[in-house]
């Protein structure tokens, strides 16, 4: 299969993923974009969003909390400060985080900085829950 592209997800804690896949779909700040092998060199900021990759018939998901994607013809490198594969997400933890974030938003409605931080936390929690649901083997 010459048409595969290598996907690497790098976080400060570890190399989360290094795999040859058919398609990678990332959530950029300007919307989703898909990458196939032979893509032009490309650099994009990523939003808090999901990362999808398909290898053969299997599609896998990961949650990415912002960062960057660097694309060269044969490789996609995702640099994120936090990222998890769907099957590794702790759903209970994400739910608790969502509740915490909602409380903080309610409290911090007046203060701009605190509000945007809480909002980002909420987005991350929701994303993890969404991705965890999708990544369930039964789904």
């Amino acid at each position: 299969m010459a048409n595969k592209i290598k996907l690497e997800v790098v976080t400060p804690d570890k190399l989360l993923l290094s795999k040859d896949v058919d398609v990678v779909v990332c959530t950029g700040v300007d919307g989703e974009f898909g990458v196939l092998a032979g893509h032009v060199p490309f650099l994009s900021a990523l939003a808090i969003g999901e990362l999808r990759f398909r290898d053969g018939n299997a599609t896998d998901y990961a949650a990415v909390s912002g960062g960057f994607a660097e694309v060269t013809g044969e490789k996609v490198t995702v640099l994120a400060e936090a990222a998890e594969l769907a099957r590794e997400i702790d759903l209970d933890r994400a739910k608790r985080a969502r509740e915490r974030a909602e409380q903080r938003i309610a409290k911090a409605a007046t203060e701009q900085l605190e509000y945007s931080r809480a909002e980002a936390a909420l987005q991350r929690a929701m994303l993890r829950m969404r991705v965890a649901e999708k990544g369930r083997p039964s789904a």
Binding site: P12, D13, D30, F33, P41, F42, L43, F68, T77
Partner: protein, 292 residues
């Protein structure tokens, strides 16, 4: 006889101390491995990050971002001092603190105010005892060094800088040069010097399509760059701490061993002379009986 028992007690006390120092040595060794592993896992991220930063910052006007703006005059400098939470690691903490004191002195002489932030209990305790004002401290955190901690520490600096309380932010940490050499190092963290951001060959930007734009990515990238640098400094400090503790505890164990040897010698001598004295008594008594 009392002296004999005293020596014996002392020997057992030193033996217990040796057991403790030996255990601490092993704990430090295990922790050192853990931190080194973390540093190893961080390397790919740091390396890739530097690559991306280089290709983005090439050809971008450095004036566009507040973190790059060089201040016209510097009145207040923020200093973030990284130390350990615990002692018993030789001169490790003291070296860092001395470096910080020298830095504060230099800045004060230059007519600047210093805003002190401490990370790690030892630095906080030292300056608190000397009634030096500490703007904010994070202590009890060096046990688990992770990226979240780096983000917290970086935020201290970023808030001071962006909030206008300080025009420069410096960081003092322990650079891990080798297992036996840790260099207290002071680095200017903010504003980011343009050379640091653009080091390496220029002209990489043209090779990429960049979305949304190089400028906008840079806005996102630079605060993260601070996180990366702080995390690196934290990891090196933690590595140095554990290595320093290993060395200190190894020395302590050796000293205990020496002390035990000396005390055992003393004990044997004392025992010998007690036996001799007793023998003399018995012989003297027997002689007296024979004569009677």
């Amino acid at each position: 006889m009392a002296a004999l028992r005293d020596i014996k007690n002392k020997i057992s006390a030193v033996k217990k101390t040796r057991q403790i120092t030996r255990a601490m040595n092993m704990v430090a060794a295990a922790k050192l491995r853990g931190v080194q592993e973390k540093a190893e896992r961080f390397k790919p991220y740091a390396g890739k990050f530097a690559d991306v930063l280089r290709s983005v910052s090439a050809g971008v006007d450095p004036e566009i971002h507040p973190l790059l703006a060089q201040p016209e005059s510097v009145e207040t400098v923020a200093l973030i001092l990284l130390t350990a939470d615990r002692g018993l690691c030789g001169s490790f903490n003291m070296n860092l603190i001395t470096k910080a004191e020298r830095f504060i002195k230099e800045q004060t002489q230059a007519g600047r105010q210093v805003l002190l932030y401490t990370v790690g209990r030892k630095g906080r305790d030292y300056f608190r005892r000397r009634k030096v004002e500490i703007a904010q401290d994070l202590s009890g955190v060096m046990n688990v060094v992770d990226f979240d901690l780096a983000v917290q520490v970086a935020r201290l600096g970023l808030n001071a800088f962006l909030g206008g309380q300080a025009q420069e932010v410096h960081l003092i940490y322990s650079r891990f040069a080798s297992m036996a050499s840790f260099v207290p190092t002071a680095e200017k963290m903010l504003p980011i010097s343009p050379e640091a951001a653009a080091e390496g060959e220029a002209g990489g930007a043209s090779e990429y399509l960049i979305e949304p734009s190089a400028e906008e990515i840079l806005v996102d990238l630079l605060p993260r760059y601070i996180n990366v640098r702080v995390y690196n400094a934290l990891l090196q400090t933690a590595t140095s701490e554990q290595a320093a503790r290993m060395a200190a505890m190894d020395n302590a164990t050796k000293n205990c061993k020496e002390m035990i040897n000396n005390l055992t010698l003393l004990y044997n001598k004392a025992r010998q002379s007690a036996i001799t004295a007793e023998l003399m008594d018995i012989v003297g008594g027997a002689e007296a009986l024979k004569q009677g």
